[in-house]
């Protein structure tokens, strides 16, 4: 017997394969699994459970001044919408919000474009964000009121402040994360300057930019409602914050809750219709985000 064990030599063979028909290659998932796979169904369920808990807690507490029930709040909300009062307030708030938000987005874009193209721009963005990002927008409001008067101008000013810095930081971080190969590919085609930023950097950094836009949107909402709560109506017509403030003074707690619910509803709508759609059409379709 030899010391080295050799594997046996076996004969070769070849098989002819018929087309595969034994089992179906693809099957559909069961109906329940497919329904559960819908995000809207799962989220709707969460909302329903929360509403139920609220209703139970309010009934147990049994004090309309402190905590109105879900049903009372819903009724106040429907009333407000039906009379058009709430819609009016939302419209006023929304107009100011959009102005401030868009101006903030534009400024953030200018700042970050400067920052990716020049050393001076980088230093400017660095210094400004570290100075102003920690500063609460509301703290600037008294100053803004002095400068721009009691009106839309000062609200837009603080809104810009609340959107600009977080968005600029996120966008810049996104720009820095763009792979070197992609940058070189873009420059290879002769792209430079603004065309380079718009056609290469912005789409490549879109996941970071989108998250910056979301954060900025939330900050803007908060700042606006808080500003209206603290300083009341601007230019004679108050928005949603003013509606909440006024009804609290008159102890219509259900309407206060209706106003708050309106803020939440708008937040949900913008998130699920606006940002989610944007994500589905861009970063998800492009495989940049799962």
């Amino acid at each position: 017997m030899s010391a080295l064990l050799n594997p046996p030599v076996r004969a070769e063979y070849e098989r002819k394969l018929e087309p595969f028909t034994e089992v179906a290659v693809e099957r559909e998932l069961p109906l329940a699994t497919r329904i559960w796979a819908q995000g809207a169904v799962r989220k709707g369920l969460i909302l329903a459970v929360l509403a139920l808990l609220w209703e139970l807690l309010a009934r147990w507490q049994d004090n309309d001044l402190l905590l109105p029930t879900f049903i009372a709040t819903a009724r106040a909300l429907v009333d407000g919408l039906a009379t058009g009062e709430l819609i009016d307030k939302v419209r006023i708030s929304f107009a100011v919000l959009l102005q401030g938000y868009l101006a903030g987005v534009l400024l953030a874009f200018v700042l970050t474009t400067l920052a990716v193209s020049t050393q001076f721009g980088r230093d400017l963005l660095d210094t400004l964000t570290s100075m102003f990002n920690p500063l609460p927008a509301i703290a600037l409001l008294p100053l803004a009121l002095l400068w721009f008067g009691l009106g839309r101008g000062s609200l837009v000013f603080v809104l810009i402040h609340s959107v600009l810095w977080p968005l600029a930081l996120n966008t810049y971080a996104g720009f820095q994360g763009v792979p070197e190969t992609l940058r070189m590919a873009g420059r290879n085609y002769g792209l430079r300057g603004l065309r380079y930023v718009l056609q290469i950097l912005v789409p490549a950094a879109l996941p970071a930019i989108l998250s910056g836009l979301k954060i900025g949107w939330a900050f803007a909402w908060r700042t606006l409602i808080a500003a209206e709560l603290v300083f009341g109506a601007s230019s004679g017509k108050g928005g949603l914050g003013w509606y909440i403030f006024q009804n609290r003074n008159e102890l219509y707690t259900d309407r206060v809750f209706a106003g708050l619910a309106m803020v939440v509803l708008i937040g949900l709508l913008v998130e699920s219709l606006g940002f989610a759609t944007l994500e589905r059409l861009t970063v998800r379709r492009w495989g940049q985000q799962r």
């Binding site: 792979p179 190969t181 992609l182 070189m184 590919a185 873009g186 420059r187 290879n188 085609y189 002769g190 792209l191 065309r195 056609q199 290469i200 789409p203 490549a204 879109l206 861009t282 379709r285 492009w286 495989g287 940049q288």
Partner: protein
């Protein structure tokens, strides 16, 4: 486009002719398409400046498949980036059609090794159109047509509307090659384009590249660290020595195709190149 070239010498021509001879030969060949003339390149790290290549010179003619071959650290990729215009030489000059190369441009399209060279937000078709539109070479309609034609050439017309993340590595590289071909660049620069692929796909891609060259006769500069790949893909190979990169030899390899893999002449050529690349230490630098 396909000019009949004077391919000098057999596969085993003397490595580097003496300088006066070389000048005479160059005169006989006409002006080269791309001239790398005494180019030294440096890159900067945090503490020091490193010389990547030192006075490298070579000429490329139309329809050449010129290969830069060398171990890692010989500056072959850096050299390719310099020809692409991404890095400026500290010494010497790179000339394309007798004009000095100073910035990246669409007349030198690069195919990179990495798969992330395709913008993920564009479909395959849009990706191939992108440089045509970005460089304003063609209008939208003509660009769409030419892109589809080039995709067809690399066998991906069926995937025109897919996004890059839905493709395999080999398919992504095919898109990058189609994109480069669509631009009809003066020189096609390929930086180890098949290095990240598995062996079987790699072999297939080499075959396809050679078939494409047979049809289109583009001018190719190909960087690799595989001796076999260099012999198969190239018609002329520049051997670079490492730290810093210097020209070691230029070798003809137009006699070899994918069919010669494993043949004795091919093995001998591999051995010869291997000796030149790795006996450096023995000779003493």
């Amino acid at each position: 486009m396909a000019t009949t070239m004077l391919r000098a010498g057999p596969a085993f021509a003397p490595p580097v002719p003496a300088a006066p001879q070389r000048a005479a030969a160059a005169a006989a060949l006409g002006t080269p398409l791309l001239q790398v003339d005494g180019v030294s390149l440096e890159y900067r790290t945090r503490e020091r400046v490193v010389r990547a290549t030192h006075r490298v010179s070579f000429d490329m003619h139309e329809a050449d498949r010129f290969v830069l071959l060398g171990p890692s650290g010989c500056g072959k990729s850096t050299l390719l980036k310099a020809i692409g215009g991404f890095i400026r030489p500290v010494e010497g000059e790179i000339r394309l059609d007798a004009r000095t190369v100073s910035a990246p441009g669409p007349d030198r399209i690069v195919v990179f090794q990495e798969f992330d060279q395709l913008p993920p937000w564009k479909t395959v078709h849009q990706n191939v159109m992108f440089p045509l539109l970005a460089s304003r070479t063609l209008g939208r309609k003509e660009a769409a047509e030419r892109a589809l034609h080039c995709l067809d050439k690399v066998g991906l017309a069926r995937f025109a509307d897919a996004h890059p993340h839905q493709l395999s590595g080999g398919m992504k590289q095919r898109v990058a090659i189609a994109r480069a071909l669509a631009m009809q660049p003066r020189v096609l620069l390929m930086d180890e384009p098949f290095a990240a692929l598995d062996a079987l796909t790699r072999r297939k891609m080499q075959e396809e590249l050679l078939a494409l060259w047979d049809e289109v006769r583009f001018t190719l500069l190909f960087v690799t660290h595989s001796i076999e790949e260099a012999l198969v893909v190239g018609n002329r190979i520049a051997l670079l020595s490492p730290h810093p990169g210097r020209m070691r030899a230029e070798i003809n390899s137009h006699g070899f195709t994918l069919d010669s893999l494993g043949g004795s002449a091919f093995q001998a050529a591999v051995q010869r190149i291997h000796r030149m690349l790795f006996e450096e230490e023995g000779v003493g630098a």
